[in-house]
Amino acid sequence: MKKWIKILAVLTVIGIAAATYVYVFVYNKAHPDYAQLEPKISLTAENCFTTFRVNEAEANERFIGKMIQLSGHLTQIEHSGDQTIFYFILSEGMFGNEGVRVSMIPDEKLSNITAGHSITLKGFCTGYNQTDVILEHGSVIY
């Protein structure tokens, strides 16, 4: 009888541990710390934009869902709500300017950066919306 109680107790503990593990590390797992992610690819903003325009399918495969490092001439900084968007303007179309838009992770240091200079940053590529290449969770490298 005691043996069965021991087995049951061990199984219960294992069950609780497994359920806790699944709840904490699978169901409630944290979003990636994008600021700490290493870029998989490094290229110029212009090269990135052109790749999407010339062959979107290939660019989707290469860039979407990856942290990429971009360098280029930062043309514009926009503020929309609590978002800061760095914009590399590279062309013009029906939505006005076109290029690479990078939604930056909020950071006090962003207020020191002005448009009109070269910059290198990284961001998580979510795709091309036929106007702009969109990078999210951006942060400045230098």
Partner: protein
């Protein structure tokens, strides 16, 4: 003279699934939208991978299993405001809008007809609409194991504040 084309790249879409065992919502603040107030042409385009969920696992499942955003990275709506004669974009006020067009999600295009409002204020036009999307209409397959976690009809809220395109 009032501008004819209004655009935004920072429109917002929020969706909400209210299922028996779970509530799921996601936000996207990078919606491209254009409205031509002379023709009524209205389009928006959304990158699926830009939707942000509270839980990373849900975001992963949404992109990889349901929407397959690697295959279908964009959702688009192309249509028209059909009751343009009832809306005066030059006079402040709130106007009911009837919008018809084609919504493409997950590689499937469906004709839709929805209501919305345009609020004209301080020279700006704010567009809002709430409508429902049936996941089955867009060939989005929900596994039997999580059928009670995801609503068959997803509430979609669109909120755009386009600015005059001076070209």
């Amino acid at each position: 003279m009032q501008a004819q084309k209004y655009i935004t790249k920072n429109g917002q879409i929020h969706f909400y699934s209210d299922a028996p065992t779970e509530k799921i919502e996601a936000f996207n603040n990078h919606v491209n939208s254009a409205l031509d107030i002379s023709s009524g042409d209205f389009i928006f385009r959304v990158l699926m991978k830009s939707f942000q969920f509270e839980k990373a696992l849900m975001q992963e499942h949404f992109n990889e299993n349901y929407i397959e955003s690697h295959k279908f990275p964009n959702a688009t709506f192309m249509g028209k405001v059909t009751n343009l004669n009832e809306i005066d974009f030059s006079t402040p006020g709130s106007y009911q809008a009837q919008i018809e067009g084609e919504l493409s999600i997950h590689g499937v295009t469906q004709k839709i007809s929805e209501q919305g409002t345009f609020e004209v204020k301080d020279g700006k036009i704010q567009g809002k609409s709430t409508f429902y999307v049936a996941v089955a209409d867009y060939d989005i397959k929900i596994p039997q194991a999580v059928i009670t976690n995801i609503s068959e009809k997803i509430e979609v809220n669109v909120d755009i504040l386009p600015e005059a395109l001076n070209k």
